[in-house]
Symmetry: C2
Subunit: 278 residues, 2 copies
């Protein structure tokens, strides 16, 4: 059962916000969906969007400006909250980069987090099942995201061959397990044994990828997090070594904001549309 | 002197946020400007955007999705805060529809508000002077806005023939002086003598307009404020009586939100572009 929170007409379709009980997260979750006008008469494919730290399902729908092109292309857009919330876990709301709004899209295994932080399963399975059961969509899906969500999109697609028709990312964290900042969050969710972390690291997954799913990545050169946290050059290097198709576009002067995303989101949607035609 | 708060590259141009001391408001003011790529090599015309209750200069820039088309058309966009703030006026932050964020774009005359609430002069004169002195823009300008800002745009254009090349509005308050809700705010800013209010009432201004500036108005039929507060039928009636050109588009199923604005903002920009060509 999903509960409609609000619905707004937009570009001949509608943006709709829902809450529901998530089985894998043992908690309530929120998501938003944009249904293009084509969904009134046929089942449309879906692009899943994973947002960055501190975001909810609302940021992408209000700031990215994706709906106009999605309406033209006949693609539904689904954005979910970046974690479950209000779980009563000690310290869950204390950091912007750990706990609420900072799931990193993992399945947590440590005692404090394993019950309510299973966003990997939520994004991969539970949410698509709900979307396909409740809306006029078909089973074709692609995935994209920003920053922590760019990490999520890449590792989700790379780790699950055949599930996504295509993948793209904006300013993704590409090598979380070799980044001292993200390692803290991974340790908190997954424990100290870093061997268990590698399944969530895009650069590691490239090394063993059996599917050559092309990656489209946009990265602003003036992104304040590029050097220390995002390190997209690591993705470029591992893709080169392992002959994995990567279109990396370094966008001169662009930063980490939704102003950057809005500028190039139409390119990403058109990229996905080529793979999402039934 | 204006102080840059932040700058983001977007659609080959940039969104820039500024603060400055306003002479007419005896207070600090904030505004945002989108400079299209054309502004790097030539002076471009400007569309001024007036937002609705509770908004700041940020809402339009982050939610309306106007920059893509503005970049194509070579139009700068300027959005200002909806009032001065932090003036130490008793009760200034207590209501969403009076005081901070709710200037109604008037020149206040009552004792409490007359010093810091002169948004009419700010929008009409002070801000354009600042914009023209500091950015690569020419003197051609148009005006648009939403709700309280739709009221502002219409009455500013109707009351100042020759100043604006064109005007449009989304979900405007068209007849504030005959609306019991808005009358409270007008009385607070202007005193009880309602004769002084009429210069700020679009429907009244239509009756004496010497210039037949065409009005473009979009109004959602599912707008929760339409019946009681916006009452666009009053504008349609007075325009008909006085033979004033009005294109009123009732948009089926759309509400009062930025999802509505984003759907039709491109139409408005193209409308203004036709009048803003030098």
């Amino acid at each position: 059962m999903i509960e409609l929170v609000k619905r707004h007409r937009q570009f001949g379709g509608s943006v709709e916000y829902y809450r529901h009980h998530s089985v894998v997260n043992h908690s309530n979750m929120s998501f938003a969906i944009f249904l293009p006008p084509q969904a009134k008469t046929q089942k449309v494919p879906v692009l899943y969007w994973l947002s960055g730290l501190t975001c909810t399902e609302d940021n992408f729908m209000t700031k990215a400006g994706a709906q106009q092109v999605a309406a033209q292309l006949g693609i539904a857009l689904v954005a979910m909250d970046t974690s479950s919330r209000d779980n009563g876990i000690a310290g869950e709301d204390e950091s912007y980069d750990f706990g609420s709004g900072a799931s990193f899209y993992l399945n947590a295994t440590t005692e404090a987090w394993s019950k309510n932080y299973n966003m990997y399963d939520y994004v991969l399975s539970e949410l698509p099942t709900i979307i396909e059961a409740n809306f006029s969509v078909n089973a074709l899906k692609s995935i994209s995201g920003h920053s922590m969500g760019g990490h999520g999109a890449l590792m989700m697609a790379l780790g699950n061959p055949g599930v996504y028709q295509s993948v793209s990312a904006f300013s993704p964290i590409v090598a979380p397990t070799s980044n001292s900042w993200v390692r803290q969050a991974f340790a908190g969710y997954l424990g100290e044994d870093s061997a268990a972390w590698l399944q969530y690291d895009s650069c590691e997954l490239i090394k063993t990828a059996t599917e050559r799913l092309p990656l489209l990545v946009d990265q602003g050169t003036s992104d304040e997090y590029l050097k220390e946290y995002l390190q997209v050059e690591k993705l470029a290097a591992v893709c080169k070594t392992h002959n994995h198709p990567l279109t990396l576009r370094m966008q001169e002067g662009y930063d980490h904001s939704y102003f950057f995303i809005s500028t190039f989101i139409a390119d990403h949607l058109r990229h996905h549309a080529r793979y999402l035609s039934a």
